[in-house]
């Protein structure tokens, strides 16, 4: 495969590696505690299964991207890489979507269910999680771009010449 074809996808995978690793690390290190009357709020990412799922998916995606960076794109494995890229993009997409839903409840509460927002009590945790979600969102978008590039490389789809 020519170098001019390999450089864009290498850069994209590098960007995806940075995004997924930073999302994982920022979410893991998010921690805050607050004392309110006689209630103690301690906020960690393990309190919510959604955030644990997010950390797991981003860790898997970062490991996968790291392995693929050192793998030169041989065309014999192109189809397997394409399927794995599709699976990874969908998993990242689902994890960021679920975290955004739970984060919205944490920020605004849900008056109908009697759930109070927690971002007023633990603002550092909320900001940390917001940063991790931004990184996760960037990772999902970059993975979709990687998927399109994989499709192009494997199937030669996008030539538009007569």
């Amino acid at each position: 495969m020519s170098l001019s074809k390999r450089i864009p996808i290498f850069l994209l995978r590098l960007l995806a590696l940075g995004a997924t690793v930073s999302a994982t690390l920022v979410m893991i290190t998010s921690h805050d505690s607050a004392q309110l009357f006689n209630m103690k709020f301690e906020a960690k990412y393990t309190n919510s299964p959604t955030f644990k799922y997010f950390v797991l998916m981003n860790a898997i995606a970062s490991g996968y991207t790291l392995i693929l960076l050192f793998f030169s794109s041989k065309s014999s494995y192109g189809h397997l890489i394409l399927i794995l890229d599709l699976v990874m993009a969908l998993l990242l997409d689902s994890s960021i979507s679920a975290c955004l839903a739970i984060g919205q409840v944490g920020k605004n509460g849900n008056s109908h269910a009697g759930w109070l927002p927690i971002c007023g009590q633990v603002p550092k945790f909320c900001d940390h999680v917001t940063g991790a979600l931004v990184a996760g969102f960037v990772a999902a978008i970059v993975y979709f771009l990687i998927l399109l590039y994989s499709l192009h490389n494997v199937m030669n789809l996008f030539f538009l010449k007569t």
Binding site: A43, P49, I83, L90, S97, A101, Q104, N110, M155, L160
Partner: protein, 205 residues
């Protein structure tokens, strides 16, 4: 253009008759099932509502009742779920129509690309909606003791059951749509080979 997989095509003036291969019929059947799954997920969640009258206090001997309603609109995740599944069912319906009426129309080359791209977009949207609703439902069923959020499924059990059924239908639809998306991308390569044919050829989504 001679295609593989048993599709025969003769160019006359205007109509292009086509004998469908078995793969086309299987794909249309899968699309019909995916359409039904996403449509039922959307309808079941949109009709999700439960009203319950709970005694909140007792003054003397008179119990004071409050009427609480659980609707799907109260949760933005469920609203997104309904919208995402509605979008996907509309897309599947349009692809079914194109699949049945396809041989009568002649498309240029770029339209062949639109179908797999739209399929991929709708798979992403449905996966986002289904997973957001699933985690929201898990929060409603188990609550979150660390954030002092009480569970609601013990009081509104039929609301939770109906929501769970809608989520199952959506996940089934998501799996079917992923299979359809992969097959339509592979067919793109078979139709085009190494270059995009810019004249008319038959499109079967």
């Amino acid at each position: 253009m001679a295609s593989e997989r048993g599709e025969k095509q003769e160019t006359c003036h205007g109509k292009v008759p086509l004998t469908r291969s078995k793969l086309d019929l299987v794909l249309l059947l899968l699309r019909l099932l995916a359409f039904l799954a996403t449509l039922s997920a959307m309808v079941v969640m949109a009709l999700n509502k439960q009203t319950k009258t709970i005694v909140v206090a007792t003054i003397g001997t008179v119990p004071i009742r409050a009427t609480l309603t659980a609707k799907f609109q109260h949760t933005p995740a469920f609203v997104f779920f309904v919208i995402a599944n509605g979008n996907a069912s509309l897309h599947n319906l349009l692809m079914l129509v194109v699949g049945f009426m396809g041989p009568k129309w002649n498309f240029k080359g770029l339209a062949h690309l639109a179908i797999p791209v739209l399929d991929l977009m709708n798979v992403a949207i449905v996966s986002g909606g289904a997973s957001a609703a699933a985690f929201m439902g898990q929060l409603g069923r188990d609550g979150n003791s660390h954030a002092r959020w009480n569970k609601i499924c013990d009081k509104f059990d039929s609301f939770c059951d109906q929501g769970g059924g809608a989520m199952i239908a959506s996940f089934v639809g998501l799996m079917l749509m992923t299979v359809i998306c992969s097959v339509s991308i592979i067919r793109l390569r078979n139709h085009n080979g190494n270059k995009i044919i810019l004249d008319s050829s038959v499109v079967v989504p």
